[in-house]
């Protein structure tokens, strides 16, 4: 699992590795406020997992509030590698002279983790002749080994000390957090003689995530959003506990608002689309049933092209397949009486209006 830059940098900070002052902005207001709080100029950086953000236009400099506003808008609207950012990192721009590439990664042939470093940062590090590779024991890198990396890079004095501390800290991070890769590229020597991680990339060992609950909330949505999209549902993972399912994007949006207004928290947005038949309803309810943060399901259907009896049959069939989270449903439209009859002997809580169904779902528990 790959982390976003800001998450990777939070880890670096936690491990005592200097990073430029920065703040995360989810909207224009936050971006401007962050800008006001820090020295200028700044850079705004798209928080996507895809590489090549700079060339794609996902990293823009700004020297005044107008430029921040403009850059923020541009970055939020820019898709990079099929991915749009959900936030932007506003970061103090760091003038610097030289760059170093530094990473900790697994060498399969050597059956060990290694430090890789070279004196020029940038993307083509693999080809550089001055590349230093140092095997790391399972206990971690020693001070002497970290210093020998620095020496092989011809660093001396204060620079050597600072760099080898960073090597040691990055290695400890990679070891303790169980990273497949922990990379700083570039690590910059600033004009004032300090060292700062300008960009960072961290990939975690998926098999080790069970030991790191601190990461469990980072990308919870991928699996479900992927499955939903494959099945052709419009689906958005949210953070609450009420799984919201309906037919028609507007109706589901409106249901989310009702849930929020009633003090509840939706766990997802799931639009069945038009004309959903039994199998699709089954698939949708099953999906929300699997969603770990949903502990109940709210179904809001207004039948038009969708037949309410198909919806009812789908829900019934899912219930017959096994234990379910509580379902609160409102089913209106043609044949609604027949639909209600189909669900009469099931544990589904049927309500005549969306407000009542929402109220019941929010109040339950």
């Amino acid at each position: 699992m790959k982390l976003f830059e800001y998450q990777a940098k939070e880890l670096l900070k936690e491990y005592g590795i200097p990073v430029p002052e920065s703040e995360l902005a989810h909207n224009q207001g936050e971006a401007v406020a962050a800008f006001r709080r820090m020295p200028h100029p700044v850079v705004l950086k798209s928080q996507v997992l895809a590489g090549g953000r700079g060339k794609a236009g996902g990293i823009l400099a700004a020297s005044n509030e107008e430029e921040v506003t403009e850059a923020f808008g541009k970055i939020m609207n820019l898709e990079i590698g099929g991915e749009r950012p959900s936030c932007v990192l506003v970061e103090v721009s760091v003038p610097h002279e030289t760059e170093i590439y530094l990473s900790i990664t697994l060498d399969r042939g050597a059956r060990a983790f290694v430090v890789i470093s070279s004196k020029a940062g940038g993307v083509d590090v693999e080809s550089l002749k001055g590349r230093v590779i140092q095997k790391i024991s399972n206990k971690g890198i020693t001070k002497g080994e970290a210093q020998s990396v620095a020496m092989k890079l011809h660093l001396s004095g204060e620079e050597r000390e600072r760099f080898s501390r960073i090597v040691a800290n990055l290695e400890r991070l990679a070891r303790e957090k169980e990273c497949e890769l922990a990379e700083i590229n570039p690590l910059a020597f600033t004009k004032r003689g300090g060292l700062t991680a300008l960009d960072a990339k961290v990939i975690l060992d998926d098999n080790a995530l069970f030991r790191h609950p601190e990461f469990s909330k980072l990308h919870p949505e991928d699996e479900f959003e992927g499955e939903a999209s494959r099945q052709g549902f419009a689906f958005v993972r949210l953070e609450g506990n009420i799984g919201v399912v309906g037919n028609g994007a507007g109706l589901v949006l409106s249901t989310l608002d009702l849930v929020a207004d009633a003090g509840g928290n939706p766990a997802c947005f799931l639009d069945l689309g038009g004309g959903a038949q039994r199998e699709r309803v089954e698939a949708a309810v099953n999906l929300v049933n699997k969603l770990p943060n949903a502990n109940r399901i709210l179904v809001n259907i207004f039948g038009g092209i969708t037949r309410t009896t198909d919806v009812a049959e789908g829900i019934k069939s899912v219930i017959e397949q096994g234990v379910m989270k509580p379902i609160y449903a409102r089913i209106s439209g043609a044949e609604e009486r027949e639909a209600r009859e189909i669900l009469a002997k099931t544990p589904v809580h049927l309500h005549p209006s969306p407000s009542e169904a929402v109220e019941a779902a929010v109040r339950s528990q």
Partner: protein, 295 residues
């Protein structure tokens, strides 16, 4: 836009398909006079007692219909729409989704040239309860005759709002969905212009949603041109997260663009009242009517 009246003949294109035949039955039940259907190659058959013809020309000349509702698959849609316009049809209700965008643009151009109107594509259609006319797939029981014109960007949410209106004594002079595709052949602005001319219409309800700027454009249109009737708006998605595509292609908020706030503010600046929930719409209407009756 000339909407059909009670007893006026309309035709169904794609009448023999799964949805075409089902909704022919439901529209007939509502009272719509489906006088003919069209499915190439099925001429001579009948669906729910409605005769089927091979061409729109035949169907129109037998029925004298000026309106058509189309359940034709996306691949054949442009041809069917062109055939209808050339046969003299003046109102096309395009239920079909997934129509190529260039077909929609060509349809729109052709329709303008022949003074025809297209509702949709990807629309639930239009319903005029007082006339017993339904050209669409909406559930009939939610709509009652009355004085509110209801225009919606969303299909099922239109049903929901109609249901709230009807059950609170606010019938509809008409209800129309503009459709969920990138191009709406009939825009919210054109809907408002239509409502201006409908004597039986006292108030207009606009059902919008996050994303895009159709509501902002509508607000500007009202401010620029003026609009003499009361407008109540409702925008779905106040609590939607940003940067997430909420079902419809355009229902996504970037930064401050496309937010419910922006739409609500625009509508308010144009003099509309805005409800926070579908249930609040009839409450606002009641207040206004009460106030009006007081003044």
């Amino acid at each position: 836009m000339i909407l059909p009246r009670r007893g006026e003949a309309v035709i169904v294109q794609g009448i023999t398909g799964r949805y075409g035949s089902l909704h022919t039955k439901l529209m007939l039940q509502y009272g719509t006079r489906i006088a003919a259907g069209v499915t190439p190659g099925k001429g001579g058959e009948s669906v729910e007692g409605v005769p089927v013809f091979n061409t729109v020309k035949e169907a129109v000349s037998k029925s004298r219909a000026r309106s058509s509702i189309l359940f034709v698959p996306a691949q054949f849609f442009y041809g069917a729409a062109e055939e209808a316009v050339l046969a003299g049809v003046k109102l096309l209700v395009a239920i079909t989704e997934h129509i190529p965008v260039r077909d929609t643009l060509k349809m729109l151009e052709l329709a303008k040239k022949h003074s025809a109107t297209i509702i949709g594509p990807n629309t639930p259609g239009v319903i005029i309860p007082s006339q017993g006319v339904k050209l669409g797939i909406m559930p009939a029981t939610s709509f009652k005759p009355g004085r509110v014109a209801l225009f919606s960007r969303s299909g099922t949410l239109m049903y929901e709002v109609a249901n709230e209106l009807s059950s609170n004594g606010f019938g509809q002079s008409l209800a129309l969905g503009v459709g969920g595709d990138p191009i709406n052949c009939t825009t919210l602005n054109e809907c408002i212009d239509l409502a201006q001319g409908l004597n039986e219409t006292q108030e207009v309800v606009i059902v919008g949603e996050i994303g895009g700027d159709a509501e902002e454009r509508l607000a500007k249109h009202i401010l620029d041109r003026g609009f003499s009737k009361r407008v109540v708006g409702y925008i779905a998605g106040r609590h939607a997260p940003r940067e997430k595509r909420m079902g419809h292609a355009g229902a996504i908020i970037y930064g401050d663009y496309g937010t419910a706030e922006s739409k609500i503010n625009a509508l308010k600046e144009a003099g509309a009242e805005v409800a926070m929930t579908p249930m609040e719409i009839p409450l606002l209407l009641r207040k206004r009517r009460d106030r009006r009756e007081r003044t």
